[in-house]
Subunit: 334 residues, 4 copies
Amino acid sequence: MISIGVLGGSGYTGKKLLQFCTKHPHVKEITIYGNTTAGKTIADVFPELDSIVKNSVIKSVDNISLEHDLYFAALPHGQALNYVPNLISAGKKVIDLGGDYRLDDPLVYQEWYKIEHTSPELLSEKIYGLADFSKVNYSTHNLIANPGCFPTATLLPLLPVVKYFNQDILSISTIAYSGTSGAGKSPKSNMLMSEMYGNARAYNVNNHRHQPEIKQELAKAGLNKPFSFTTHLLPVAVGIYATTSVHLEKPISMEGIKNAFAKTYNNAAFIRLRETPPDLTWTVGTNFCDIFYSVKEKSLIIASTIDNLVKGASGQAVQNMNKMFGWDEHTGLL
Amino acid sequence: MISIGVLGGSGYTGKKLLQFCTKHPHVKEITIYGNTTAGKTIADVFPELDSIVKNSVIKSVDNISLEHDLYFAALPHGQALNYVPNLISAGKKVIDLGGDYRLDDPLVYQEWYKIEHTSPELLSEKIYGLADFSKVNYSTHNLIANPGCFPTATLLPLLPVVKYFNQDILSISTIAYSGTSGAGKSPKSNMLMSEMYGNARAYNVNNHRHQPEIKQELAKAGLNKPFSFTTHLLPVAVGIYATTSVHLEKPISMEGIKNAFAKTYNNAAFIRLRETPPDLTWTVGTNFCDIFYSVKEKSLIIASTIDNLVKGASGQAVQNMNKMFGWDEHTGLL
Amino acid sequence: MISIGVLGGSGYTGKKLLQFCTKHPHVKEITIYGNTTAGKTIADVFPELDSIVKNSVIKSVDNISLEHDLYFAALPHGQALNYVPNLISAGKKVIDLGGDYRLDDPLVYQEWYKIEHTSPELLSEKIYGLADFSKVNYSTHNLIANPGCFPTATLLPLLPVVKYFNQDILSISTIAYSGTSGAGKSPKSNMLMSEMYGNARAYNVNNHRHQPEIKQELAKAGLNKPFSFTTHLLPVAVGIYATTSVHLEKPISMEGIKNAFAKTYNNAAFIRLRETPPDLTWTVGTNFCDIFYSVKEKSLIIASTIDNLVKGASGQAVQNMNKMFGWDEHTGLL
Amino acid sequence: MISIGVLGGSGYTGKKLLQFCTKHPHVKEITIYGNTTAGKTIADVFPELDSIVKNSVIKSVDNISLEHDLYFAALPHGQALNYVPNLISAGKKVIDLGGDYRLDDPLVYQEWYKIEHTSPELLSEKIYGLADFSKVNYSTHNLIANPGCFPTATLLPLLPVVKYFNQDILSISTIAYSGTSGAGKSPKSNMLMSEMYGNARAYNVNNHRHQPEIKQELAKAGLNKPFSFTTHLLPVAVGIYATTSVHLEKPISMEGIKNAFAKTYNNAAFIRLRETPPDLTWTVGTNFCDIFYSVKEKSLIIASTIDNLVKGASGQAVQNMNKMFGWDEHTGLL
């Protein structure tokens, strides 16, 4: 039984973390450290968790206790830099749900996040926690960078293809749609129900922070072909639908791709390979990534779906916790 | 002032046709010819048009009068083959909103629609009515094949790029999402509100009938590079969002693309070039196609939006009627 | 042909006013006077109106020209008090879409709006512009208080019942649901897509400003029985569904109610009496109010629907303009 | 550890039952008996439950094994009459989620369901399983009629008011909205996404089968005042929002109502009393009923929310199972 501290945690990912950790058989307590919410109770911030999650007062991030075994950081980018180095120095385990430790190169971080990285030494120590794909030994690392939501939805289906068929690829284009909860809870006119109802919208075209993160991991798998990545808002609250069009230099058989997926995800805890294109709702509320692929001549199309707040954030973070502590990956997640 | 007959017309496109034609200053009357709806009134089928559209009894398609000047066919595929040849023989003008006359090659039609084409001679006579793009002289043709909804959303932004930059293109991938009205009004479990709410779903992957239609028109513009096209259901009733990722062999400047669009759509009635990615809702209820493009190094991303029932069907049909009769293209559409 | 000034007009009602007035055959020009939007163009504020509405620069409300024939005020409550008296003094016609001139009693206004009324003399001069119901001679009045959205949806079906059957009524309860556009465009966390998607919420229970407005008009029709009114947010952008449960002291026949509606709305321009409960979408985008009623023993249930931005605001305002200037009520609205 | 049989179970309530029972610590196995789905697997019918619920073949309702300890019936009305009597005769426990055993009077059943009741003797034996309210000793009964979704949402907040304040009530009107999943999974045109998106619709006005069920239970609590009940479709998949307007003969204090609720629900497992009107989403996915009330002079307004498939069906059924077997009511439901 472990004790958990959550830095941030008053947003949508924090809520999911609370829900999963409350049900988790190896978590004995969870403490939230907030900024603007310090002093409020959990029930003030999340009335829907009344009688579900143990109510308690949110403490201030200015006074983080070192008594916890594991810390989740669910903070706006840049802020984890203020807390994570101390926690790691104190020998604590940390899972960062934000973007501060995902990129390996501090200069790339600075280019995309417009902030100088103040603990670059941790970038090489961390694990990039794409839980179903990573073969790294978690027990020897204290810092996990939890992948972004779009990278999770994009990389899980694409890495096996790149790993086994890079030489056959002409180009790759991923077009992804996310529910609005990905944009967080702070009020903006263009995210109002009145604006988004019946709507859809591309954004950060050719300029999304998740693009260098995806490219970094695809490059590690051997990719040296053109890749583009475009994000959209889907007029729902939750879920990511990612569609990847791979143009091939020469045809690959369905059998070949099937084998690549089988070899990669044979023992993966939360990958479901599908024989029809998945409904987005099949993964909503779950930690699964559903994957479908179709090849016709030199066109390979892959569709993948996740819950952006679960598999794309808190669920994968709990899966990473399970891996860190040597528990079954499914614990607390089914 | 002309008289109009609508074959079919009890579906979503028929409703829109009724609305546009009722407001159109050069249309004096409109008669619906239906199958299962023959004998019902328009208000029975469309209670929402009560007091807006002149109510009248729907006649049977088995007794189509030849007294109309123009016929719109809004029928399930295959059925227009039964009526259009006679109307054309009788010297009538016809705009077919279905797929029966869009493809130039009867064998391609048979491959994708699983029906033998019984009036192949009309395929070469017809105009492919992509209204804002086509430079054909409409006055000398009696048959217009109104483009499909996805082809309209895909071709309008892509044709100028292909026309001017084919040699610089490595590959093209279009990923399009459509509101559920594109699937029509007949009841299916997987199209229920309970199933589609909060949902999204790829369908007909590597196998959509609009793909050969798009390829046919891109080929006419000179395309000889790989093209893929993937369709999805968007969890809304109306609208298409099409995103096209063009990988380039070498960079093109924004200026260059801007010029290509300017040259192509200088006098286009319903093209709006946008400097930010468009909201889907901006075009819903209108006959516009909004287009945005962004180039970064060798990645060109294009976003385009239309109302699938207006620009993607009945609105473009009315625009085609305007062109056929030499009226201002905007007539009845603003 | 008249010239129109719109005070405010950068919100959802302003957008609708622009659309209706642009198409209106008797309006030659329309000028927007804004606060925070002064200096911007209409296309800046409403990109969706590009190429539909004539683009022009929004002027400042601090310099309202007196050259217009009619002024629409579409301002937050309290602000019309600053402009309307001067315009009326200058002999201008004014239609106020806000709440400042709807109540007859300045003390009731102060109680509910927490503002002292500074032009109480205009309250008795104004017409309460419930356009389909009012029999007042509009030509002799210069100020119209355009009814609130909920009062329009509630009063149109209820006034005939009260007028003809007050003595048979035991109690009345109206429960109304509105799309989120009724709450305006300013960003609030609890109105985000992420919060409202799949949601619904009662608000201002026993405490909504539209309640005294409705009661005032019901009292004029003779009501002296208990009335309650409760508002909710519907998880859509547009539309009001109002359901009224009338408990009766003794049964009334369907025939009797039918006659009451017939006598009241025989020549009404935008009332549609329905024989089945209406779909909300039937009125969305239109100026109609659809009404359905059912009596069983001593229970009378009435369902009514409107578009809150059209019939509940700008459409009814245009209908009121038509009545003021003696034009057909439908002008510019079909 | 018990074994469970589910009759029916291929609809939305069956899916929820599967999910709850799979996680339930005292349920060792669950077998589905279907009609049209017999021979299919659970994963065929519910792809979203793949890897979550143990897959197995659906058996035929024509061969129901008597080896289970408890049977849930989740069948269209009328069909439970064919199976329940035999199961009860065999000494089995049964929870019927349909309407066949909810009404006490077989003639009232026949009037509303248009079917003759063939096991009227069971109507008086059964418990009406409004789990949080009922004080009956469950251990001595083998048949539970699980309440309807609307009755659950309506009765839980209203029974305490009727029980303690019947003499002060003038009239009661409940207006309830339900997500479309309440209408089941069989395809109907008017339940398509294209029809229901952005829509709302009253239905079965003055004629809903849940009305006699509600009246029966209110009468048992002492009600002898006018009550009306009107249902609507809410444009979402899941959830019920019920608003009840109680007109009072004389004012009641908030304190008085608070006491009535406290006395009634002091130890209730799944009632959450709220100080602000609840968001519908707070209860979606949970077995809670959230209740808010407001009194002003002689108007008492009550808002209550439930998940129609959980508290309104399968969750309450599991709660009833817990009560039947003497387990903590929360077991498997948090």
